[in-house]
Symmetry: none
Subunit: 197 residues, 4 copies
DNA sequence: AATGAATGAGATTTCATTCAT
DNA sequence: GATGAATGAAATCTCATTCAT
């Protein structure tokens, strides 16, 4: 009785709860028991799915990064001009940062023992996003960006600026409007440096 | 005789050791005993100078931030054109980030119990730097930056991009050349956007 | 299976062990680990039942006082003359003091931080006993005590003398025979002061 | 310059300070540094006069007990009837207890490592007092106490009752008037039990 | 499979005591 | 002699992990 969830669902529930708790509290201040409670299961059950706290953390990180990359991909592959898609991308990026407030932060200082593996996951996600951005710049309408701005560097700068603003937000706690911030950044980078005059 | 350091020096020695250990290990993985060892003193001595681990952390943060702000100020108040000084500022910024590798990271996820106080210190440092940058943009030679780029926003963007690159570095571990990165960023922001053609 | 004790029993086991160790060593010299060992459990388990050392101490005190009051009540509510019941009470009192040798002592200098709460528990126990004694004196056969000895004061004096002897014992270590001491005290207080007859 | 006190005086100053601090805080909660501060000297100086905390405690105990015994002796050897002198003794006793509130308490639970030596000091003081009391009872005017009350037992009872009341006071914190308490106790013990006369 | 009571390693912090000045 | 900065042993308490049910 009590039709149990299929196994995959319980794992995901744990990962969701882990994302919340690790996000709020960071790796060390996060309590396994709190994660279990949020997932609506017993403490011991977590150890049926994950070897230890660290593996749970890594699995959660991978899971969240994949989900984020997917949401960002949707924005970049939407229809519209390059400027529109880049703006949509940035808005989504900022929304994600604000939503998973603690998650990016928790990545900055991963548990020492798995620093390398964390870095690997983050790097992979970043490269995927970077490639998607580069592709957008490469195929953008001619007039969108200055001719001397190489697509790869443009992607680096856009991502860098976005991360910079996000970091600002995370550190300083000064809130900001995702849409207007996105527009300003895109404007700064994409507008042809012109004006002829 | 009188070989002993004057009192202020021992406090600073502890703060230096604390910066190293907190930087490498983060607040929670840092062990008080390790800090004492690096400072070449006994565990208990730290408690003569700081009430507890958290106060030591905050004092260390304040101390390091003040030192960083001072080094950045020197670059911005040096002689030279605005472009030269901004480039110098960014180079110094990147060097600091690479040197104090862990310190900025440790700020991202401070111990929950003193999150507010950490934020306060960081915000203050950031505002000081932002003001210095704004002043540079405001007094820059006319042709340095686009007319429609407000000095305050220019400062925000420059700082944001710098932080973005630094975060990239911290997260991804992909090393980069401070000078060339600085030049690219300044070029991107400062060059008049005309090209004339 | 089901060999485990029901939950209440483990708590009591801890309280028993705590009474022994606190009794022997006093609050500050008592080590949590020693209590755990005596209770046959792990150190951490104690913290599942009691918030910290102080709360354990207070719980132990309450537990022991309740048990003592109960044993004294049985003696005062037994059948027999007032003199017999008072003697029984004193004998029990002295036996308790000798058995829980350290317990009363540990109450005299409770940890400063919970002095008030300790005092409250002790006062409550003492008042209960005082009331029971007063009741005995009030309903005693007319010829038992001098007419000018008010029941409440008689109770105070009896209890005071008993505590005085006990303190003597605790301080000086001079052993004594509970029964003979009890008889002497009761004799002193209860015999009608007439002689005249 | 700065004519130093003769050595004996500094030792006594420390003992006075120790009595205060041990009295207030008990052996374990008393801090050596606090004692030094009250004595107006440096922490290290205490160790020139006493081997360690325990020896200081024992010396303080001896010093205070001697002083108390002396004050009590003066009352018992004063002029006046036995009843007057006993009353004076009890008043002094209660005043001492209230003044050195913590001292007797601190004796009840001495540091485990010197329990025996503490007990020895206490026992000696008590015996001296007991002998003085016995002598008073022995030489008292015939009509003062019942014939069947042996002087030694009378002394034991008087001292016991006094200690009982004091304990009550120490434990319960219920204040009382020394004079009236003294009179009641003496009255209870000394009045000839005839009434008849 | 799921649980949560039990565990104990390990961290912070205090404070009696030492000793260089 | 006098000092107090420095020390480190020892105590409490937390929490990831285990395992009997």
């Amino acid at each position: 009785m009590m039709a149990n969830l299929p196994k995959g669902d319980k794992r995901e529930k744990i990962l969701q709860a882990a994302a919340e708790v690790f996000g709020i509290a960071g790796f060390h201040e996060a309590r396994i028991e709190e994660i279990a409670e949020r997932a609506g299961i017993g403490k011991g059950t977590i150890y049926l799915y994950f070897k230890d706290k660290q593996e749970l953390y890594l699995a959660m990180l991978q899971y969240q990064l994949a989900s984020m990359v997917e949401r960002l991909r949707l924005r970049l592959e939407a229809s519209g001009t390059a400027v529109e898609r880049l703006t949509g991308f940035l808005v989504e990026f900022f929304v994600l940062v604000r939503h998973y407030r603690g998650l990016p932060a928790s990545q900055v200082r991963p548990p020492h023992a798995c620093e390398e593996r964390c870095r690997g996951l983050l790097l992979a996600a970043r490269q995927t996003i970077h490639q998607m951005l580069t592709q957008v710049f490469r195929t953008a309408e001619e007039e969108t960006i200055p001719e001397d701005l190489e697509p790869g560097f443009a992607a680096t700068v856009l991502l860098g600026m976005a991360q910079g603003l996000a970091m600002d937000y995370l550190l300083g706690g000064n809130d900001f409007d995702p849409l207007s911030a996105a527009q300003k950044l895109v404007h700064l980078l994409c507008r042809k440096r012109d004006a002829g005059g």
